[in-house]
């Protein structure tokens, strides 16, 4: 069974299609780059998979289940905004995740927080946005999920943090899970990708194995992308 299968998926706002007839199959054990320009439909697709948007048409299956309680148990999602209640302390948030997600590894989360020099006892409202984003990354990566979906995890972070994020993704990655990373910063991330999906104007333009594509085009993914979608 496919990990993620999307059939004829469309999302329409008023009269404009944000996504049109998306068909996509993703299997386990891969790091997949969802690449596209700003506004190409990356976030729309991700939000549809995570039940934050309702499809106009089509179907999304996660291990054969429609989007719902079962799919949420096995998807670990990092949105591009801070979503935690700012009144909570980091400790409380850890307990919150442990309460709701059976696959949450609280010891691992504490270890990762320590690596990042983040204080368990601090209130989120007292933390900078960057720190809050790190806490969220730790929460998401501390789940033993089947599918990790990271929406623009590298947007606006410094190079050191970027390396830390990529390392965290790599060291947590295992053959039973897949990771979808959406980004428009392709060159930063392309070396860790197994597979790329190009999305443009709400449609899938290309899906390919990363190294095969490099071999075929004799160029970096970043360059191939630029060639395809010249402004």
């Amino acid at each position: 069974m496919e990990l993620l299968e999307i059939k004829d998926l469309s999302k329409k706002y008023e009269n404009k299609y944000a996504l049109k007839n998306i068909n996509l199959k993703l299997s386990s054990g891969k790091i997949i780059g969802l690449l596209g320009k700003n506004g190409a439909g990356k976030s729309t697709l991700i939000k549809l998979i995570n039940d934050l948007l309702t499809p106009t048409d089509g179907e999304i299956l996660i291990k054969g289940n429609k989007v719902g309680v079962e799919s949420k148990k096995i998807i670990s999602y990092l949105p591009e905004r801070t979503y935690l209640n700012k009144q909570m302390r980091v400790n409380e948030v850890l307990n919150y995740f442990e309460d709701f997600y059976d696959d949450f590894d609280i010891q691992k989360a504490k270890r990762l927080l320590k690596d990042l020099d983040l204080d368990d006892n601090q209130k989120l409202s007292k933390m900078s946005k960057g720190m809050q984003e790190k806490v969220q990354l730790v929460l998401v990566m501390s789940r033993n999920a089947d599918l990790y979906i990271l929406d623009e995890p590298l947007g606006g972070v410094d190079p050191a943090t970027r390396d830390y994020i990529l390392d965290t993704i790599l060291s947590n990655f295992n053959e039973n899970a897949s990771v979808i990373i959406s980004t428009h910063l392709i060159s930063d991330i392309e070396r860790i990708l197994d597979e790329v999906v190009f999305i443009d104007k709400g449609e899938i333009a290309l899906q390919s194995d990363t190294d095969e594509l490099r071999e075929k085009e004799n160029a970096s993914i970043d360059e191939i992308f630029r060639r395809m979608f010249k402004c």
Binding site: D51, L53, V69, Y83, D99, Y101
Partner: protein, 264 residues
């Protein structure tokens, strides 16, 4: 999962409400301490301020439960926090029920603190006796037990407030369904639903009146001189109607939520 959701919803409310509970009890105690038999001008003024503050806190307890419930509902279902809410492995029904029960519980807690504060501030055997006599006068007039009278009075106040909360929830849900991110429409919808629910109760009581002359008299005469039977019927009928409307609205809320959301 409902229990877990409720745990965090209640924690949130306690965190935001406890200051009002503490302050209202605090001012109740100071009001009490300042109500000396022999008062200087200074103490008289302080006593007035203190009792004024207590009344303000009591009003805050009730108003804040409503406002907090609405804001919390909107934030966790449609604002940034919704990114977490909707990705938790829980059903939409549980999400809704948790908010519903949380509000219910905090209305009760609010009532308890209101009564507690009033009791601390003003209780004397003498005032208690006066209140008792007063209620007794009413209840014997209406030919009902004191317990029934107190229960039904509180029930109606409670349902009335809860109906307003429920209208707010439905307003928020439909407001966001129709125009993403515009709170104005939610407020308008909530207000309209409130008017509709009130009109509905009134007109249904009127319909009931077609079969019951004593109730019909209310509409005809327009005096406050309520008939014994009419009061009893009115209280029971309107309570039941409120209950039906509240549950009806919550079913609509869940239906709409289950169709899916569109978070900006």
């Amino acid at each position: 999962m409902l229990i877990k959701l409720l745990k965090y919803d209640l924690k949130y409310m306690i965190r935001n409400m406890c200051v009002f509970y503490i302050l209202s009890v605090f001012f109740a105690i100071t009001t009490r301490l300042l109500s000396l038999p022999e008062q200087t001008v200074m103490i008289k003024i302080l006593s007035r301020i203190s009792s004024g503050c207590m009344i303000a806190m009591i009003a805050d307890i009730i108003i804040n439960v409503m406002m907090r419930s609405w804001v919390r509902f909107r934030d966790s279902i449609y604002k940034d926090e919704s990114y977490l809410t909707h990705t938790l492995p829980v059903t939409k029904n549980d999400l809704y029920n948790s908010k519903f029960i949380q509000t219910l519980i905090f209305f009760f807690v609010g009532f308890v603190f209101v009564i507690l504060s009033l009791f601390i501030a003003y209780y004397t055997p003498h005032t208690w006796l006066i209140i008792k006599e007063y209620i007794k006068a009413i209840t014997t007039g209406f030919n009902m037990s004191m317990l029934f009278f107190i229960t039904i009075t509180f029930l109606i106040i409670f349902l009335e407030l809860f109906n307003a909360i429920q209208c707010g929830f439905l307003g928020i849900i439909l407001g966001y369904k129709m125009s993403n991110g515009k709170t104005g429409l939610s407020v308008l919808f909530g207000f309209v639903f409130y008017l509709i629910s009130q009109t509905l109760v009134l007109s249904l009581v009127f319909v009931y009146g077609l079969f019951d002359n004593s109730v019909m008299e209310l509409f005809k005469s327009g005096t406050i001189n309520i008939d014994v039977n009419a009061f009893r019927v009115l209280a029971i009928v309107s309570s039941i109607l409120y209950l039906i409307i509240i549950f009806g609205m919550s079913i609509i809320c869940k239906k709409v939520l289950n169709k899916g959301v569109d978070i900006e």
